[in-house]
Amino acid sequence: MKTYVVRRLLALLPVALVVATVAFVLMHLAPGDPASVIAGPDASRDDVQRIEKQLGLDAPMPVQLVRWYGRLVRGDLGQSIFLRKPVTDAILDRVEPTLLLTLFAIAISVAIGVPAGVIAARYHDTTTDQVLMVIALLGVSIPNFLLGLLFILFFSVWLGWFPVAGYSPLEYGWLKTLRSLVLPAFALGLVQSALIARIARSSMLDILREQYITAGRAKGLAERAVIYKHALKNAMIPTVTIIGISFAILISGAVVVETVFNIPGLGRLIISAVLRRDYPVIQGVVLCIAGLYMLINLAVDLSYLVFDPRVKYQ
């Protein structure tokens, strides 16, 4: 098992290398030379040259690439053009709302998605199942930003239950923070819960087809006991890992929803960076999110080791 973990970690390295390279290439895809892009439109010829030197852009491409890896290893993501501070600082400033929003949305999506999926599987091929699954499919079909817009209309503007937008940071009290995140978290979480319901349902169905369930039924166990004691316990394994995957998915979903609700998180950071052509920030946020995404996927795969004794890795 240990060797497996080590091997998985090693396997991550080439992927990380590719990710870093892609981010590097993105920068060089940008129209114009990166130095004048970084220097901004107001920069003089000297500024551009200074930055060119500073970033080593005068060196040949492979040298630049190797240096770029070096800087990444040291955690140096460069300097934001517009915010005039290190990209890492800019990202750290914005992590809080995005993380909280994501966690909140996961809680919602699991709380709704798992029971819905289990019920649908329990009443497999009945009207209940079909109705639930059509709703879930509808849910998968609504873009989260559209749901967010409709929520603003109903709950904030017409009913006045929630702030229309904005984010109250934790330092002003967690209750306010929670309140400011209710609508965006639901907009994000409901869509995800539809996905989770579909997953929970299929994994539940897979397990219900297993022999030990049939055995349990044959033994004369009540259907309730079969479903809730035996099947559910085992169906939880893939479902729990789904939470991990959801985390990764929702972080990128937050990028979009933050714009609808004017939440100053990583999403707003990257969108405003795109509009301002603040390339180091775009690069930094993309790398940061991709890194998180990779780690979570790794954790999810490794979690099978813990949760499912049947899974064996060579």
Binding site: V18, S141, F145, L149, V255, A290
Partner: protein, 299 residues
């Protein structure tokens, strides 16, 4: 989390086609999905016939409620929302088809090469893994930042995002098929690699690819809408559902139709694609039910 799928042996045989169709049409949900897709297709293709100029501004008649002159009302500069939604369908269709074609050309090529020529497998698939390590929308945003706003760039960006996902599926199928007895037999008979690929391998991994196609299409439509909504997609004067939504949200209380109709259009389109895709999957590729597809869809 790689997907290994064995196509049913009869799936590619011409004789099975009629049954194929019969099966496909038997499920009501699949038919609803197909119906919605046909509707969208019709809207997109017939746009110049059934809708006016989506960019024409009649400022005096701005923010008119839906009525006889304007079925879906007018927007804040007096453009006909119906025309814009219809042309939005055209754009979504264009983006969807172009992304599917582009990502399939790239994805099938990479996937086949990786699956068939084992020496290249590692290299190709590491690059694909690297691209897939980015969440779709984030990579698309970053690409748009580098490329600049235009319809073609949106297509390129989304295709780059989804090609690796296609490549993965193709590679999985090729890996299995190349080891099968009939490919071995063909090879023993002296068939060249190219012939083998074209005649035996590729046709047999068609069904998972087709299934994947409907999901890529849906994802492309959604991603385009999201990018344009965020203001980093197509330029704002091109009617796209995302653009209409982004502009309409400013008038959400006064003129809810500006959000409602394009929103409904997106929902129905994606819903139709999902229904149809599910039906296709159940039919063509029963083994990749459940978790695997859901995770693909999610990513």
């Amino acid at each position: 989390m790689s997907v290994i799928a064995l196509p049913r042996p009869d799936a590619a045989r011409p004789a099975a086609r009629p049954r194929w169709l019969v099966l496909l049409t038997r499920r009501k949900t699949t038919m609803v999905g197909a119906g919605l897709m046909v509707l969208m297709l019709a809207l997109g293709v017939l746009a110049p016939v059934i809708a006016g100029n989506p960019g024409h501004m009649d400022v005096a008649g701005r923010l008119a409620a839906p009525g006889r002159a304007h079925w879906f009302g007018t927007d804040d500069v007096g453009r006909d929302v119906w025309s814009r939604v219809v042309y939005g369908a055209r754009l979504s269709l264009l983006v969807g088809v172009a992304v599917v074609v582009l990502s399939f050309v790239v994805g099938v090529a990479c996937g086949t090469v990786a699956g068939y020529y084992r020496r290249l497998d590692n290299l190709v698939m590491r690059v694909m893994d690297g691209l897939m390590a980015f969440p779709a929308i984030v990579l698309a945003i970053a690409l748009m930042a580098a490329l600049g706003p235009s319809v073609i760039n949106v297509i390129v960006a989304i295709a780059v995002v989804y090609s690796p996902r296609v490549a993965r599926v193709v590679r999985g199928s090729v890996l299995v098929i190349r080891e099968t007895a009939y490919v071995e037999a063909a090879r023993a008979l002296g068939a060249s690699d190219l012939t083998l690929l074209a005649r035996h391998v590729l046709p047999n991994c068609l069904s998972p690819v087709i299934v994947q196609g409907s999901f890529v299409f849906a994802a492309a439509v959604l991603t385009e809408a999201a990018l344009s909504f965020l203001g980093v997609g197509v330029p704002p004067y091109i009617p796209s559902w995302g653009v209409i939504l982004a502009e309409g949200r400013l008038y959400i209380q006064q003129a809810p139709w500006l959000v409602l109709y394009p929103g409904l259009a997106i929902m129905l389109t994606i819903f139709g694609l999902n229904l149809f895709g599910d039906g296709l999957r159940d039919l063509l590729d029963p083994k990749i039910r459940g978790l695997a597809t859901e995770r693909q869809r999610a990513a």
